[in-house]
Amino acid sequence: MIEVENLSKTYSGFRAVQGISFHVDKGEIVGFLGPNGAGKSTTMKILTGYLPPTDGKIRIAGFDVVTDSIEVRKRIGYMPENVPLYTDMRVNEFLRFRAELKKVARRKIKERVEIVKGLCHLKDVENKIIGTLSKGYRQRVGLADAMVNDPDLLILDEPTIGLDPNQIRSVRELIKDLGKHHTILLSTHILSEVELTCSRVLVINRGRIEASDTPANLTKLVRGGGSILLEVRAPSADIVAKIEALPNIEDVEIVLPNDGEWVQATIFGKPGVDIREDVYNVVRANNWPLRELARKKATLEEAFVELTQD
């Protein structure tokens, strides 16, 4: 659905995007992650044909974004960051206007507007002026606008920013539902959202793609793919020495040095190896009283921090 080759964008000397390449297949929900100023919004604006790329080739649904811009724009629904809307229009009026503008067949406009209003729970505000709506409702009007022409590809720039937890949940459910029939590229800062909705994650930092994988695989990339928390009553030095002697151990960190009392340690194993049994055997062999042995699952947040921090 999206093929990006070697895309670069330079703003008056500043290289916002530096030769990135990626592709998104039909039916995927891809999360676009990265710190502020990483180049997410710029990339999205280029994909929608709003900004021209400085270099590189982008094809959406087989059409070139630069030379076949109109054809590309017919096939995408874009929700820009901060959801700009005509605040003087009523919700119904606005959605009809957008449907007409996006070349929805005249006899289908009414039907499409009804469908998106239903999907985005806008029926109770359909006759209100957009300027009087709360942030959450405006966000949903923006989403309804993006979907009104039933596009093959949805590009959503931070669709849940500024929403309350209930609204975030309902938008997340909506995106999951939409993913059954549409291809979606969404950017967000909320990592739990990506873990729950996206089939793949693209991590971008300083204009470069740092990683592209499923959320599960990305968390495995993080040191040890998760670590083990151990709490025993033993001298710290002993713990470090004896556990580091095991195979498949990368590092042992003492979190709470408290010699003679309970000591907490974090143990990092090699990627993909479960070291819990080995650790337990060491504890038993040394007769250390054991209070806790638990696996800490690496979160996407840790993956994100590790990939985007230098």
Binding site: Y11, T42, K45, T48, G49, Y50, L51, P52, I70, E71, R73, K74, I76, Y78, P80, N82, P84, L85, Y86, T87, D88, M89, F97, R98, E100, L101, K102, K103, D145
Partner: protein
């Protein structure tokens, strides 16, 4: 198709804001007061050399009104889109820049023409209530209406252009007023003594008051028609390039 959709939105959006009603009210008031004033003066002095319409369009207040009306109509057309960020939403829909520029131009022009309806009402009232009714010269009325439309088109294209330059509506309005004043000010050379005769010749090509006077007496002249259409088209092309430029800059 996209043009028509955008045009409808542009035109109706005027009536969603209070500015439109204030401008409409102000214009009707100024036009009405001027009309009454001229009418009573003409009646009192039994003035027969010129028709009411001719005097009306030669009246300085009339020009002042246009110079204020146009910036108020056009200041928001692009500035507001840039300020709200809606330009991004607009230009990522399958529309061409030309559709957007033309829709905004014709939307503003239509609203401008509506501001002139009160004059038509004033003239109709004159027709209905004078005994005997004054003779009606359709060629003069038609030519005057055409000239107002063409002049309005040119001035509005200037206003639309200044609006694409900035996201601040006030700056757009002030710039527009300055440009209009320059475009109109050229015709004032006629009243300055010792102006060179060849300069005066040139001035008459571009002098809007002269064009309206000619139309008022029923002289059909193609030169102003070509002039206004050309400069309007030029301003709209400039607007389109600046719109593209602003977008490409990011």
């Amino acid at each position: 198709m996209a043009f028509w959709t955008l045009y409808k939105r542009e035109f109706t959006s005027y009536f969603n804001s209070a500015v439109a009603y204030v401008v409409l009210f102000g214009s009707a008031l100024v036009q009405g007061v001027q009309f009454c004033f001229i009418l009573s003066a003409v009646t009192a002095e039994n003035y027969k050399d010129q028709s009411i319409m001719q005097i009306f369009f030669d009246w300085p207040l009339f020009w002042l009104l246009i110079l204020v009306q146009v910036p108020l109509i056009t200041m928001r057309v692009f500035s507001e889109e840039f300020k709200l960020g809606t330009i991004e939403m607009l230009l990522t829909a399958p529309v061409r820049e030309w559709d957007v520029v033309l829709a905004k131009f014709f939307g503003a022009l239509t609203f401008f023409l509506i501001l002139w309806l009160p004059v038509a009402l004033d003239l109709t009232a004159l027709q209905l209530f004078s005994v005997p009714p004054p003779p009606v010269y359709w060629s003069q009325i038609g030519l005057t209406a055409l000239t107002i439309t063409l002049v309005g088109g040119f001035y509005i294209s200037l206003g639309v252009f200044t609006s694409v330059l900035t996201k601040n509506q006030i700056i757009a309005a002030v710039l527009c007023f300055a440009f209009l004043f320059a475009a109109f000010g050229v015709s004032l050379l006629r009243w300055i003594q010792h102006t060179d005769a060849t300069v005066l010749d040139w001035v008459s090509y571009v002098s809007t008051p002269e064009h309206l006077q000619n139309a008022g007496v029923g002289i059909f002249d193609t030169r102003p028609i070509v002039f206004y259409i050309t400069v309007t088209a030029f301003m709209l092309m400039l607007t389109k390039s600046f719109l593209e430029g602003r977008r490409l800059k990011g």
